[in-house]
Symmetry: C2
Subunit: 211 residues, 2 copies
């Protein structure tokens, strides 16, 4: 497929395009130029054109891009809208926040259950849903064809949980524990480090005004 050749840098910008175009669509905007996108998104217009060309999003001179078509194309490339059934492992604050966040379900990511090993939070209700004991994880993953695991457990448990999820057959791991987890070939991992954006912010604060 053509999009196997999309570079990591372009891939990392696709969600931003997707969000931007979804907002335009919601406002009823039918077309947009790369220069308008550039002004709104803070990206270079020629970079936007190059990025969108990568997967066949060709704008027309003097007309621009069709918002709806381009959004749907990016959505398809990102694999949004396919059926994802996920479990959240770790019912601390981050786990609860993700589990309660309804926007993921709207995009097709069904966070179906949340688990914890701590007996004091198990059977605790979160918005009417109960935190399940970790002992039920395996059965749940198998019975519900779970293909995505979200790790929101403490650092020291993260790799063990990832290993278990992989054994149970998930195809993707979205990890929020502050340590990179690894998985065997064939299972995709995104390690999220919230502090990274804080460090980038402090870089900008430090260099601000020096230009």
């Amino acid at each position: 497929m053509r999009d196997n050749r999309i570079s990591e840098a372009v891939i990392s910008r696709l969600p931003k395009y997707y969000r931007y175009l979804s907002e335009l669509e919601a406002k009823g905007t039918q077309r947009v130029s790369s220069s308008k996108m550039s002004a709104d998104m803070g990206l270079n217009a020629s970079q936007i054109r190059r990025d969108l060309n990568c997967f066949g999003g060709f704008g027309q001179q003097g007309y621009g891009y069709q918002v709806n078509n381009l959004k749907n194309e990016i959505k398809k490339i990102l694999g949004i809208g396919k059926k994802y059934t996920a479990v959240v492992v770790g019912a601390g604050n981050i786990g609860q926040a993700l589990y309660k966040y309804t926007n993921f379900a709207e995009e097709g990511y069904n966070l179906a259950a949340i688990f914890d090993a701590d007996q004091s939070v198990v059977d605790k209700e979160i918005d009417g849903i109960t935190v399940r004991p970790i002992e039920e994880l395996a059965d749940f993953v198998i019975n519900n064809e779970v293909n995505l695991g979200v790790i929101t457990a403490p650092k020291r448990h993260a790799q063990r949980i990832a290993d278990e999820l992989v054994l149970l057959g998930v195809k993707g791991i979205w990890n929020f524990a502050p340590v990179d987890v690894v998985a065997r070939k064939g299972v995709c991992v995104e390690n999220v480090h919230l502090s990274d954006s804080l460090f980038v912010l402090s870089y900008r604060m430090r260099t601000n005004g020096e230009d």
Copy 2:
């Protein structure tokens, strides 16, 4: 300053280098080659050398980089270790999670207080600390020389909170509301979209095995 010319792509990788080198340092490793970094971090070795060259991190042929020196150089560039005093606005799950997370304090980011407008959570204790009423935000920011605002409030309030924080004199905004907030020139903003990494993960899951 030389580092004003560091590209956005390099800046976005610096936190990853910083985390990696901090881990090596904690293990007592004194030097590391770009090829070892490449294998561990999943980045191209020549890209690593180019990145590190950008800010004067020159490795020696056959010796590699001094872990401690390189880590400290990146730390300085990122502005980590300078004094940041922050307020968290919004005491929902994400706000509480960030506020309770002690690693930020270890790096010099003092999340000094958490605020909410909802009377039902105000005066609620979180790990022994009380959620303050939003009415006290202005006084707190001014009296404590707060320079960083963390927004973890609902989408519809995010821009108004950002505007207030800017008026009160903060120099940086770390926004977790699912909408991009903007600030006048001179104030830096990092808009964090947790769903972006989920979309990238689903892209990888979709294309996995097609290479």
